[in-house]
């Protein structure tokens, strides 16, 4: 099970954080700081896996963003690497060649997409189509709402 996922920039700005177990805010901040320091210090050709505390860290850099997951002892590192990649693909497909700014300005969307993909630290669905369909549906719902909103004002 994934314990948490972090997205942060080369400059060490946290862009997204998702925790799958109850963790105190103070501990979260400490862990984020510690991990960012470790991961940012690593060189490009190094291995994507780390042992950290009692967890395994799997990370990958996409452009200016680092995607960093903490998984448990018995979890599979390589498949986690592809969890990251699939999440990037989903973001990319949704935003249309996603960049860091998209995630900054639409952070809530990024959370919604992640929630459709992973839940409680486990994969909910791996099909790109299914995940995006769910998001699409909610976007459509929102359109409906907007229409009804305008209609009310038109009355």
């Amino acid at each position: 099970m994934m314990r948490f996922m972090l997205l942060f920039s080369r400059q060490g700005k946290l862009r997204l954080q998702k925790w799958y177990t109850a963790t105190a805010e103070r501990d979260k901040k400490k862990m984020v700081r510690e991990l960012m320091q470790i991961v940012l210090a690593r060189k490009p050709k190094m291995c994507s896996f780390l042992e950290w505390r009692d967890l395994k860290i799997v990370y990958k850099r996409y452009a200016s963003l680092y995607f960093c997951c903490a998984i448990e002892e018995q979890d599979n590192e390589l498949i986690t690497l592809e969890v990251i990649h699939r999440f990037v693909e989903l973001l990319d497909k949704y935003f249309g060649s996603v960049c860091e700014l998209d995630i900054i300005f639409n952070f809530e969307k990024a959370y919604f997409i992640l929630d459709e993909f992973l839940m409680g630290g486990e994969i909910q669905d791996t099909s790109k189509k299914s995940v995006l369909k769910a998001i699409e549906q909610s976007d459509l719902l929102q359109e409906d709402c907007k229409e009804s909103h305008t209609k009310i004002f038109a009355l």
Partner: protein, 904 residues
Amino acid sequence: MPAVSKGDGMRGLAVFISDIRNCKSKEAEIKRINKELANIRSKFKGDKALDGYSKKKYVCKLLFIFLLGHDIDFGHMEAVNLLSSNKYTEKQIGYLFISVLVNSNSELIRLINNAIKNDLSSRNPTFMCLALHCIANVGSREMAEAFASEIPRILVAGDTMDSVKQSAALCLLRLYKTSPDLVLMGEWTSRVVHLLNDQHMGVVTAAISLITCLSQKNPDEFKTCVSLAVSRLSRIVSSASTDLQDYTYYFVPAPWLSCKLLRLLQCYPPPEDGAVKGRLVECLETILNKAQEPPKSKKVQHSNAKNAILFEAISLIIHYDSEPNLLVRACNQLGQFLQHRETNLRYLALESMCTLASSEFSHEAVKTHIETVINALKTERDVSVRQRAADLLYAMCDRSNAKQIVAEMLSYLETADYSIREEMVLKVAILAEKYAVDYSWYVDTILNLIRIAGDYVSEEVWYRVIQIVINRDDVQGYAAKTVFEALQAPACHENMVKVGGYILGEFGNLIAGDPRSSPLVQFNLLHSKFHLCSVPTRALLLSAYIKFINLFPETKATIQEVLRCDSQIRNSDVELQQRAVEYLKLSSIASTDVLATVLEEMPPFPERESSILAKLKKKKGPGAVSVTELEDNKREGGELNGGGDRGPDTASTPSPSADLLGIRSAAPVGPAPAGAGSLLVDVFSEAGPAAPSTRRHFYRFVCKNNGVLFENQLLQIGIKSEYRQNLGRMYLFYGNKTSVQFASFMFCVVALLDTWLQLNVQTKQVEPLVEGGAQIQQVLNIECLTDFSDFFQPTEMASNDFFQRWKQLSQPQQEAQKIFKANHSMDTEVLKAKLLGLGTALLDNVDPNPENFVCAGVIQTKSQQVGCLLRLEPNAQAQMYRLTLRCSKDSVSKRLCELLAQQF
């Protein structure tokens, strides 16, 4: 994807985010945020009712601020209001806020749960999913209480949409993990297992995480999942890369589900049903075969997905550990990866091989890769990969390759990263000991270890080499010669001086025949290091010197001179000064016979599990030292043994299990009025039966050496006592409180018979007359024959010594524990005084919890010494204590524990 969906019109939010991004400094950012917080607060407080859109926008801003790392202490109510909005995006933002910033405010939880309940029963799949997500994100006990019974129903209901089923499965998993007692599968079990057969791959993917977790906890109830999982896996593995459409990932069919299925199978032993097993073996072979096929894509995603399945399959093969053919194939496959250009694969191959090394079927196959692994240790650029290589070398080590591996590890140690040096040192030390055929090699290795990485050689390691040298007389001469040579280096590590001092002090005589290492040369060599060493090392060297005086009488004058000089005998450090003074005195007054007895060669250490191994286990956590360790331990039998301590004072002799029953009545005086004076017969009458009251008084003296033992209107009996080792002297003061003379005053010390067996008490008779208002004194000389708490001698020791000894006294009957209510003040100083009064040494900085007290002492009796360790854990809140005692003699712990429990 429609571009319109982005941003969805929350312009205010976008502007605010831009503002924050434009802030030039942290201060400016905080200022902007505070302004925004004030604005939002006033909007929320204002009397004008906010519309849903504004509420959503402000809640979203709060969320953003929170995610920037600032505290948010309001807005929860507004977020909860959004939950009941009928507009989807408002509801969605409300749920997001709750998920991220849940508050344990019970009032709020009730409202949230209400909203969730409404959405769950709305039959609108999108709303249901939102609600399920929220439960999974928060996962609190309250939510489990409210929904744990509802969700399984949603999960297995025939008319539930697939997307809802997926969310329900994972939501239930989360609740099961937080509150397993509330999630009762019972009647649902079989239907949940059958989700593995679901047509929708997404449902299977989500459900299998739940099933795996439940199977781990209740393997029997879920064991039908094995055959289902095998057939599902078989279908995936044999499908063409395009069969599964959207569930094919870079030409790999359903990699996530495959990994999960293989993982689930690792919760069970190999299938008993031959057909199922055959099918599974076929799957595993297919997976291994596929690894040899040319890749269908050059993309790293393709190879990662494929190899993820392969590694998971290898894990399952290792888990079964029953198919030699598969194990060897797995090993060969990993061998290929060891040289792969992808760092990730090399890392994983090294890691996976570590577990393969522990299987008897593949151990030999793993060993064939030794050169590659050694090469990895030397050339990998990433320290985490080198670490894996070192782990693997450790795991594949056996008698046949130990010398090579240890040599490689030693040479790697010279340049190793600081972060892994200590662990490497421990591993080298363990391997050297475990596979030592001739112990001269072992001694060489450890001394090399000290030379190369002295700073990382912990006490356990150098204690251990001394123990082994002392226990094996075939290596003592060699050890003495080697340390003597090692000490000749101009700069040698302090640990080397310690080992050198100890070994030469014990066995220097074995090399003294050679004029190049004559006694004086040895002494001068050691003493040349003396001034550069820390206090503990100097103390050790002083002991080595006195041993020299015994071994080589010709060095006596030189050494006495050294001891006599001011820097020793007036050293500001008490320990050093004391040793110098005592050793000097000992060497001057004791006859050679006495000296030879006192300074006799150390007796062999008892055989125990290696404390180094324990340390490594502790350092790496129980899982990390790998199965090899434990199995080797079994295999090698008692070869690993010995602990780190060298103190002779814990070497307790087996004792006759004398009982301490008598101690209670050992209230030394049971005043028994006798004789003619009829008046006196009544002296004690008003105090009721005398014994119980004195007994009560007696308990005071467990932690005190003087005070009033008995008092009434006529008579006061005081007591003062002093103890040294097994001898004690007790003064009894009989005070006449009246103004009349006590005539025929007689006393006799009464104690139960068994007390007499343990104490040899001599009383001096006193005058039978006590003048009015006067006091007379009686002296009792006591010799302790067996255990008796007052004959405690304090023992000072350091934290690791303490815990080492604590662990040694681990037999159940050696420990006694009592949890009891505080009878007296729990003030720290009072407790300290009591513990010191007991005669033990109060050890600071030993217990990780500063509230607790730990003490150590030795009970001296005529025939033996009983080492006692004590730990007192006060709980001020509950006004309770927990008292634990461990003593080298069984009955002592129990008795002391009972005795002391009444003191606090």
